[in-house]
Symmetry: C2
């Protein structure tokens, strides 16, 4: 198949690379993208087109892999391009947002498939799953078969794949935020050594190190936490855990794209510093 | 020493029993308490007094071990009794609440010690710690030395022991609430089997079973979650995680004192049912 990726960040480039290894031709457009994105796309051997309209006209299948807050805009540009194939929104968005984006394609001839990626960038087999739902989910899964990114079809309902992604991230990223908050509180109250004696040194170090390692991308997680909060609220579950996680991750925004993880003290100090809003 | 326990629930009875094993005489009063409390106190071989005033007049050290929302009232009855010894508030309350209760004893001749119990009811050595802070923390620790409940002095500041308890419970009980919420969301959206495939069967079962096992006491945890929220807010950390946990635990209140843990379906259904407030 001819597959287009909009827009290849680290995850998107790995998805494109997976699609290539599964036997497809994979396109993107460098139009308006950064040098870093270009480098990633070249490393993944994606074929560059002049602009998104050219990607849309050459491809039967388009995948949107972008930050959650950009997902609606990317879908709108695809709609405007006159694309008539299958469109997968593979972003970390709530099932409700996915359904609302799907509705914008009604009557356009585009087959909308809901997607959600679980795991790290899919450079290696066995690490990452692409969950899919919708009437054409099986077609998309077929295109990825045999590549490192493992496709998994949930059902025909738009929203199921997004719900799966949201649930997985709710635990994974919620738990990291909870541990970081407790460590910051213990530091604030001067009881860090006692908490360490209760948790054990290894578990304490592991929790601190996890928070240190994700600090460079915490700014990206903030909008995802709001998507999770919306997901939980739509199930009439309390949304406060992930609203709090969003706030905690926003406090780590200064570590964006840091070359080295912050040390323990810098991490805890940032967590304890409320953001001006 | 002569030590009084106010009021021996399961945890309080174990604290009294520990104090006995450490070589003290331990008192309580059955006045106005339930048959179940009486049974517990008798099993722990605590000496019954006619009323709280008699306990206060016979003892040099009083410990308050009660639900967080009752801690202020218990302290007030001790103040009214004319007690002139050392009073330990060992309840799951915020450091701010502990300091505010301590302030009610100013000028009364009572030495206030902040306490926090970490672990299950202290029937066995090695399971449970009594954190202590305040000028007389060492005296209290000395009284418990050699019993199954291990005393640990943090420092002289009122609030440190409560902060330690709050941090420990913030992680422990927050994590259980987070897992329960994610499991409920996955059930709501029909993706429970896929979440199970990501988590693995053993980890999934462990998370469900933990939530099932604590369902009978979730009603007790709700007020504790609000104390944790207040603790975090006082450190200028977001309080939403534990406000959400409070709401989730309140949804399990119908399992109060159930003889058997609810089954998986009943647990998830209760979590998904918003409470009328």
């Amino acid at each position: 198949m001819k597959i287009g990726i909009l827009h290849p960040g680290d995850m998107g480039a790995s998805v494109g690379h997976s699609a290539r290894l599964a036997g497809n031709e994979v396109y993107w457009s460098s139009d308006g993208r950064s040098a870093r994105t270009r480098e990633r796309a070249e490393r993944a051997c994606l074929i560059d087109c002049a602009n998104l309209n050219e990607v849309a006209s050459r491809c039967e299948l388009l995948l949107s892999v972008c930050p959650p807050q950009a997902s609606r805009e990317v879908a709108a540009t695809v709609l405007e391009s006159g694309f008539g194939g299958t469109f997968v929104d593979a972003n970390a968005i709530s099932p409700g947002r996915s359904r609302s984006i799907a509705a914008t394609f009604d009557g356009s001839g585009v087959a909308y498939v809901d997607g959600g990626i679980v795991g790290p960038a899919a450079w290696q087999a066995g690490s990452t799953r692409l969950y899919l739902s919708g009437a054409e989910a099986g077609t998309v899964a077929g295109a990825f078969k045999g590549g490192p990114l493992e496709p998994r079809v949930i059902d025909e309902r738009i929203g199921s794949a997004s719900a799966m992604k949201m649930c997985f991230a709710a635990w994974n990223k919620g738990r990291i935020a909870l541990a970081a908050e407790v460590l910051a509180a213990a530091a604030h109250f001067g009881v860090g050594d006692f908490l360490r004696s209760e948790w054990g040194g290894d578990a304490t170090d592991a929790r601190i190190d996890t928070a240190r390692r994700i600090a460079d991308r915490a700014w990206r997680w903030e909008p995802e936490m709001y998507e999770i909060a919306a997901t939980l609220a739509s199930a009439e579950l309390p949304d406060g855990m992930h609203r709090a996680a969003a706030e905690l991750y926003s406090r780590l925004a200064s570590f964006k794209d840091c070359a080295e993880p912050p040390d323990r003290e810098a991490l805890l100090a940032a967590l304890l510093e409320p953001c001006e809003r």
